[in-house]
Amino acid sequence: MSERRDLDVIADLVPAGSRVLDLGCGRGELLAHLVQHKGCTGYGIEIDDTNLQASLARGIDVIQLNLEEGLAMFGDASFDVVLQLDTLQHLRNAEKMLQETARVGRTGIVSFPNFAHWPNRLSVARGRMPVTRALPYEWYDTPNIRVGTYADFEVLARRNGLSILDSFGLRDGRPVRFWPNARASVAVFKFERR
């Protein structure tokens, strides 16, 4: 399953022993993996009751919080790595959250569906919004209220004074480093504050 491999690729970006904040940790797979296999510590943040309980069951520390309310609970640079995987596109205040991610973490890792992936472009060129594995919703019920592209994020990061340490795309769980804006369904950025 590609989502599983996506997580493996992203886990490789997190240095062993890091203090990690996982924003929108879902069922806690990644953080549990980082804690158990890479000696990391930290917290998951999750809003959903079912996911919260699943994360608790995995033995990680998880805090129920709505990311739309910001990260006031966390101090500046209080984590080595802040993960924001597949959540940024759901947030009304996506830019503010990106700033918060950069404030709280010494490095941030963000992933989101790349709207410029060629099948999406093809779909729009045919006059219809794309419905794909990375963007599996119809336009009228999508939780992805901030759809953007790999290239868009580079602009947003620059605008917010972030230096990109690494970036690539993902397709079927494999990194895409050549022409990711068209060839990758998911965009991944690792960055720090300048």
Binding site: R19, T41, Y43, D49, T50, L52, Q53, L56, A57, G59, D61, V62, I63, Q64, L65, M73, F74, G75, S78
Partner: protein
């Protein structure tokens, strides 16, 4: 106490994956009593002499003595946490504690202790004052003011006498949660997990205000007699009733009162208003009933004592109000739970605790349950709330405790 022990029905599905476990009662339970001849030093500087603590236990202490869970009670509860007592009364947290329940007595040895100053079996204001000058009369108003810390010290002595050097967990809701927090500060190496539900690092001014109104209702009752009402053969029942009515309102949410009572009239809406001051509305009838019931079984001096203990709890006060510094030396892992409609112990207060623990890089998990029942929610069995507690206790049970 809860309005009714009903399972919440709503549009949200249970957070728990379906787990089919037999959930039973611990059955008939017997209250036990432990006597202490060593005086208990109190925060006030006074000492509690020659006292006893009433307690109950459920389940079996394992050979390693590592599966003990202490349940701390709140304002009007007692050591009778689960099962059915000699009078046929069900424990106040029976929906949580029992075989197969979230706090599973097949796996844990659960202890409920009645705090000193209470009126349910531990030494309290209704007991004879050992001071020779009192000549065997009840303590009444002379019972020393006790604090959360004093209670925790008393509980710690009892736990020690039971041969338990380290608790698997301390659990409490509301004022009970304050005791659970205090355990991790006073006895950091004697508790592995702290589970605080609908609790706070201290009371807000609004909360103290409600307590003060309740206390004034009792103290200004002509039957109070400066706290020595027993000597006059009376009980300040009017004051107690009003205190309870006020308390009750604050434990509920506006929504739950609207849905349970609304503006409905007693005896049917076609009955019309009485154009007098007796009971017209269902809510009035309900509050009066709760007040009457409470004044039959609760001691007025105990009510004063316990509300004062609530007011005084403020562990950060000795650390310049810095909650992170207050908890810096704690070693426990924490689970905190709050309820969105609880305005007496609001989620914001639990978040203060989470923030302090996060600042210290301590282990903490936090659930904010979207429940409509106000502060009372901690006594109800919302499936998401109980699911979180069950999952967390499963985690504790799965740990191999450090020797």
């Amino acid at each position: 106490m809860p309005l009714k022990r009903a399972r919440r029905t709503g549009d949200r599905t249970s957070a728990a994956a379906p787990v089919f476990r037999f959930m039973g009662s611990v059955g008939q339970v017997t209250s036990q009593s432990m006597h202490f001849s060593d005086p208990l030093p109190l925060s006030s500087g006074a000492r509690l002499l020659d006292y006893r603590l009433a307690y109950e236990t459920y389940g079996r202490l394992n050979d390693a003595r590592s599966n003990a869970v202490l349940v701390c009670h709140a304002l009007n509860a007692s050591h009778h946490v689960a099962g059915v007592d000699a009078q046929g009364r069900e424990g106040w947290w029976d929906n949580l504690v029992g075989p197969g329940k979230p706090l599973d007595t097949d796996r844990f040895f659960v202890i409920g202790v009645n705090n000193p100053g209470s009126c349910f079996g531990s030494t309290g204001p209704m007991d004879p004052n050992p001071d020779p000058a009192a000549a065997g009369r009840p303590y009444g108003a002379d019972f020393p003011v006790v604090t959360v810390e004093d209670w925790v010290d008393a509980q710690a002595r009892l736990i020690e006498r039971l041969g338990i050097s380290r608790l698997a967990a301390v659990l409490g809701g509301s004022l009970g949660g304050m005791q659970a927090l205090s355990w991790t500060l006073r006895y950091p190496d004697r508790v592995r997990h702290c589970i605080g539900v609908a609790t706070a690092p201290n009371l807000s001014a609004e909360n103290i205000a409600f307590n003060e109104i309740a206390r004034r209702a009792i103290i200004t009752d002509p039957d109070f007699h400066g706290g020595h009402y027993h000597a006059h053969g009376v009980v300040p029942r009017r004051g107690l009733r009003i205190a309870r009515m006020i308390g009750h309102v604050t434990y509920l949410s506006d929504d739950v009162m609207a849905s349970k009572f609304g503006r409905r009239l007693r005896g049917g809406d076609d009955k019309g208003y009485s154009f007098g001051y007796d009971v017209d509305f269902e809510i009035e009838s309900y509050l009066r009933y709760q007040g009457d019931k409470f004044s039959d079984y609760f001691d007025a001096n105990t009510y004063l004592l316990i509300t004062r203990a609530l007011d005084y709890f403020d562990p950060a006060a000795s650390h310049g109000g810095d909650l992170a510094r207050t908890f810096a030396a704690a070693q426990a892992r924490y689970l905190l739970v709050s309820f969105t409609t609880d305005w007496r112990f609001s989620p914001a207060r639990s978040r203060e605790l989470v923030k302090a623990l996060v600042t210290n890089r301590q282990h903490v998990s936090y659930a904010e349950i979207d429940a409509p029942h106000g502060h009372d929610a901690f006594l109800l069995d919302d499936p998401r709330y109980h699911g979180v507690l069950r999952t967390y206790f499963d985690r504790i049970a799965a740990e191999s405790p450090a020797p």
